[in-house]
Symmetry: C2
Subunit: 213 residues, 2 copies
């Protein structure tokens, strides 16, 4: 009970720290000092550095889901939900859900060249994330909200690239226009697949509303 609360506070701090200084920068000693407890006391909650890192990744995943995916799932399936995921991702950078920018973008680039269980865990989450994006595109397609010939993997790849590009420009370059620029590119991409090739303007909304009814 109380042990669980302590563990959650450790992980909250570990996630914040990892987003700022990298997952490898989360040392047991520093974490213990920040939280005013002994190294061995903190260590006992996890048993090894690797288990601490895996638990940190899992806690970061929970935070991402709570802040980006869950709110978007309150939108109707199809285009509204797809759009909400994209909008939610950009907002999540602006809101500094992780103080050092997207935990997973950072962890992806940190561990892509280091084989092992940590890399595997990050890859699994990122594969799952891109799959979620693809599924939301497929649902929008199946609802008739976007073109039936949309290239699902291609669109998911481009959207995710814009998310990461936004995080990069915002966090490293401190480019305050980056998020608006990313959002504009995202809207362009989404609008491009919404319109049908033969009749690009008129029948769109009608079609969506017919399906919804």
């Amino acid at each position: 009970m109380k042990g669980e609360r302590t563990k959650q506070s450790i992980l909250h701090r570990a996630v914040d720290l990892a987003s700022l200084e990298g997952l490898e920068g989360v040392t047991i000693g520093r974490l213990a000092e920040d939280l005013g407890m002994s190294k061995s006391g903190l260590f006992a909650h996890f048993g090894s550095k690797e288990e601490l890192q895996l638990a940190t990744i899992s806690a970061a995943r929970d935070r991402f889901i709570d802040n980006v995916l869950r709110p978007a799932f309150e939108e109707a399936p199809g285009y509204p939900r797809l759009h909400a995921i994209c909008r939610g991702w950009i907002d999540y950078v602006e809101r500094k859900v992780f103080p050092g920018g997207c935990f997973f973008a950072a962890a992806s680039f940190e561990f892509d060249g280091r084989p092992g269980p940590i890399r595997d865990a990050i890859q699994k989450i990122m594969d799952g994330w891109v799959e979620s994006l693809e599924k939301s595109i497929i649902m929008a397609r199946d609802e008739g909200h976007i073109r039936s010939d949309v290239d699902v993997k291609q669109l998911a790849f481009e959207l995710n690239s814009l998310f990461f590009g936004a995080n990069f420009a915002y966090e490293l370059r401190t480019d305050r226009g980056a998020l608006a620029r990313a959002m504009r590119a995202i809207e362009d991409r989404l609008e491009a697949v919404r319109s049908s090739r033969t009749s690009p303007v008129a029948p769109r909304k009608t079609q969506i509303q017919r399906r919804r009814a």
Copy 2:
């Protein structure tokens, strides 16, 4: 003379290691062991860890310029050069110019949350890189190869996002289709600005060739 050669071999190894394990993972002890020399012997070339890191970043920059920018500058200014930079970037990931993927994408995400001289050096290089991209877009515009109303910063942002997205999918997800997908998105973006709004097909090539003559 010989000292300079030793220094270059240290930096070559440091750059490779940093692309795989991060710039902070380049320790003096490990570098010395890899190269079969003493820690203090290696250390003497730089004077501090920070100077070693700054020299490593500078060596990585040289390697990037030699492999991406310099070859592209042999193409004619304008669209050919802009296209060559994009193609060159994707090739540079595939050719594993840095064994762990793009050094600068990794370094950007590693240091964006850590204030200090290292972060400053990386930001300066990335600002310069995006500026190069913007300049090549401006030249293509001024040559009449792409639309005069192109949003320069917007296009540079989108292209760079696709580069980073390609590196992510290729290195972490080991998605072998990622580079082709990135290249397709890049060609789409470039084609979109090449065609004029009123006459999207015919006059394009003629216009380019007229200008070139």
